[in-house]
């Protein structure tokens, strides 16, 4: 994307009638949505028994991602906060059922009835506080908790997300883990800033079974270098601290001469102290022998 819509306006305002229509009629966006949906469906790893599944499409928008689900023979329920996007979906006569709702308020769905869930470019909107009553952490918690409840045992959820930074990604992932999900992040094309795609792959229940998260495309074995650079910044010592200039020694030119000495002797005599008499040697420097 050229720019992030999250920083422009809340989703129900950003995707107004004009933007919803423009978004849906863009062939490039249609292509991107189809590709991401295919990949999400692949990562969902549904059992290959040719029975249609009941899937959830969170942030379905105008039904572009749901269309991929229909083409693969599945039934789906779509949820979006933008009424304009849903109206475009109705015009396009999508096969899935549509709901106008806010995922941050929790999904009002019965427990254990959904076979899987996908979301394309939607979950990162939860990291924004668009109203004074919004708390991103609580909204993410409400979302993932209700999602965990409505998924059946062993079902998966795959969310393609565009996190703004590492903190946002960690925030989303931690909220999912706290809700009880297992899983992690799958990154396709991690080294390309343009083609990079991040999928949150979550599994509901079945803790005993080891869940294998598939590797992202074009991903090699190197660990993420972002965290290493962070540590390096903390450990770096400032160079200017090492070359502190030495304190200049004060050059005290005013010495104590004979005048000062004679004045001090007279002062001590007036006080009644025993003072040696003044001689020609008074005030002279002693020999080196002392």
């Amino acid at each position: 994307m050229a720019s992030r819509p999250e920083v422009v306006a809340p989703p129900e305002i950003f995707y107004d009638d004009a933007e919803a229509r423009k978004y849906t009629s863009s062939s490039r966006i249609v292509q991107i949505q189809a590709t991401l949906s295919e990949r999400a469906l692949e990562l969902l790893a549904l059992p290959d028994d040719s029975v249609p599944k009941l899937l959830l499409d969170i942030g379905c928008g105008s039904g572009l991602s749901g269309e991929t689900l229909s083409e693969n023979g599945h039934h789906w329920i779509g949820l979006d906060i933008s009424a304009s996007m849903l109206n475009v979906a109705v015009e396009r006569e999508v096969e899935g059922d549509l709901l106008l709702g806010d995922m941050g308020q929790g999904l009002g769905i019965r427990p254990g009835v959904i076979d899987g869930a996908i979301s394309i470019s939607a979950v990162q909107w939860l990291c924004n506080a668009d109203k004074s009553s919004h708390n991103p952490r609580l909204r993410l918690k409400a979302f993932f908790t209700s999602l965990y409840k409505c998924l059946s045992n062993g079902a998966r959820a795959v969310f393609q997300v565009y996190p703004e930074n590492i903190d946002q990604r960690e925030l989303i992932l931690n909220a999912a883990m706290h809700a009880g999900f297992a899983g992690g992040i799958v990154v396709d094309f991690p080294h390309s800033s343009k083609k990079r795609k991040e999928f949150l792959v979550l599994t509901c229940g079945q803790r005993s079974v080891n869940v294998s998260i598939s590797k992202g495309k074009n991903e090699d074995r190197e660990s993420c270098s972002d965290e290493d650079s962070e540590d390096e910044e903390k450990q770096t010592v400032c160079i200017s601290d090492r070359h502190r200039p030495r304190k200049k020694q004060k050059n005290n030119k005013s010495g104590k001469g004979k005048e000062w000495l004679l004045r001090k002797k007279e002062q001590m005599r007036r006080r009644g102290n025993v003072v040696p008499p003044n001689t020609k040697y008074t005030g002279r420097k002693r020999k080196d022998r002392f």
Binding site: V90, Q105, V113, K131
Partner: protein
């Protein structure tokens, strides 16, 4: 909105203990045709809350479903056809869904239920 979706929905309002099933106030109901898949229907039969399903279909004007149902009835083509029709082909276009505990109405417009909650309901 189809009845398959209605059977999944519950009220999410703060303080509501059992927000299922939502009562249907139907103003306009449409019928759409959809290809039947018996395996999907068998799976959905296990998930569907049957009493809520029958009440909802009656609110939509369809009265062909039996009051009680068990899995042996799935062998009957006639039952499968009725189940399929009520589950996937009835569409609530205009009306409202009503929370059974609070009476909160969720309007349905163009087949899309508006489940957005007010700030004090979250």
């Amino acid at each position: 909105m189809r009845l398959i979706t209605h059977n999944m929905l519950s009220s999410n309002i703060k303080g509501v203990v059992n927000g299922f099933p939502l009562r249907i106030e139907a103003e306009k109901v449409m019928e759409k045709t959809m290809e039947m898949n018996s395996e999907f229907l068998e799976k959905m039969f296990e998930k569907v809350d049957w009493k809520a399903f029958v009440d909802a279909s009656r609110a939509m004007g369809y009265t062909e479903l039996p009051e009680e149902a068990n899995s042996s009835m799935l062998d009957s083509d006639e039952f499968l056809n009725r189940f399929h029709h009520a589950l996937l082909e009835l569409d609530l276009e205009e009306g409202a869904l009503v929370c059974p505990e609070t009476g909160r109405r969720f309007p349905v417009s163009k087949g899309i239920p508006n489940m957005l909650l007010h700030e004090d309901e979250v």
